[in-house]
Symmetry: C2
Subunit: 227 residues, 2 copies
């Protein structure tokens, strides 16, 4: 089992967490996006687009974070990342989709907050705050540590792969979004989540991530156009 | 079982197809986006965002097209929309995600092709053609009628909810994308897909859809800003 990823990617990190939580041994291969490994190119399902992270299992690639998680959960049922009950599964999947859409379409992370356009920046800030307030309102149930209840599930993994990066984006941009007073349930959740050694040990170092994102931000600012 | 949807939505249509293929009886409730039903508002999982389509089952809402399909497949295993083999499931899910991302992020449909900006329009055209050529290259296996093999699966439903609308967008915009000579496998697929009575009978009428999208396009052109 191999996982091709990049250290600074929330998507790669989420898959690492899933593999670690399930106790599945794997070889991690750090990819350089500007000089991709022959193995990655060989297993990539398309010629025109490179997917990262990619899980290689039995010489076959599985791409896209949530697709990988579903695959892992079906192949290795230990430490289920999706609830057992079909309705509860739909709720967990809904929250993953919610987070994915916010990051993708609303560009609440890098591409929005780091954008040259003040209008785009302002919209990304508004969208981030709206997303956080919705997630706060639908936070972990009373007395529960995680969105998944007493154990981490896929909704925790998805939000964790956003919340940590959000803190770094705040530091680099100097703009506060994830305020502890405004979002007390989410901050309590964050404490519980990061207190798990498996999570903390597989989280990119905040200092390195800050330096990396600061460089990315400079690139975005110096490029003439960006989405 | 109730499905709240809008007739012109590819997402609502996909869920209708899934319910029909599985033979699950349901009540369809057409929603007016400007005057939503009390039932829809009551079952909506969030106050700030209205999801359509919504499946109401046992007085509980299930939102987001793919989440609904996964739920239906888990609750009603007849006519499986996802393959049985975990790896094949991951491949089908990957293609759904691919189509979803192209429609969402690359705006290959309305918001792109109908955009006032020539730059945005040109990008949407490029992205559409790229998407189609990738899907063509990875079309149904030789001798198979559908992406799912001999039966329709979720990858067919996802692409069908794009291809039909693409034809309408072409008609309204006067720009050809889905060319039969460039994409012979996809056109053969389209013929097979639409020849199924269950699909054809639950497809919005092309003329009505053209008129509807022409009005949407006018609205986009007359609004001062749009994404």
């Amino acid at each position: 089992m191999g996982l091709h990823g990049t250290w600074a990617s929330p998507y790669s990190t989420r898959v690492k967490w899933a593999l670690k939580l399930k106790g599945i041994p794997f070889q991690y291969i750090e990819e350089d996006l500007y000089n991709k490994s022959a193995l990655l190119l060989r297993y990539n399902p398309m010629h025109k687009k490179i997917f990262i992270p990619v899980l290689i299992h039995g010489q076959r690639p599985v791409c896209e974070f949530m697709v990988i998680i579903e695959y892992l959960d079906e192949m290795w049922p230990q430490y289920p990342l999706l609830p057992i009950d079909p309705y509860e599964r739909s709720v967990a999947r809904f929250w993953v989709k919610f987070i994915e859409d916010k990051v993708g379409k609303s560009k609440i992370l890098y591409f929005g907050i780091f954008n040259k356009s003040h209008e785009v920046q302002a919209k990304a800030m508004r969208d981030s705050l709206e997303m956080l307030s919705i997630r706060e309102e639908h936070g972990p149930n009373k007395g529960k540590k995680f969105f998944g209840g007493d154990n981490i599930n896929i909704a925790d993994i998805a939000f964790g792969g956003l919340a940590h990066w959000m803190g770094v984006v705040e530091e680099v941009s100097g703009r506060k979004m994830f305020d502890a007073e405004k979002f007390p349930r989410l901050h309590a959740w964050m404490g519980n989540f990061k207190s798990l050694p498996l999570i903390a040990e597989n989280l990119p170092d905040q200092g390195n991530l800050c330096r990396y994102l600061a460089r990315q931000r400079e690139k975005l600012f110096s490029s003439s156009t960006h989405k």
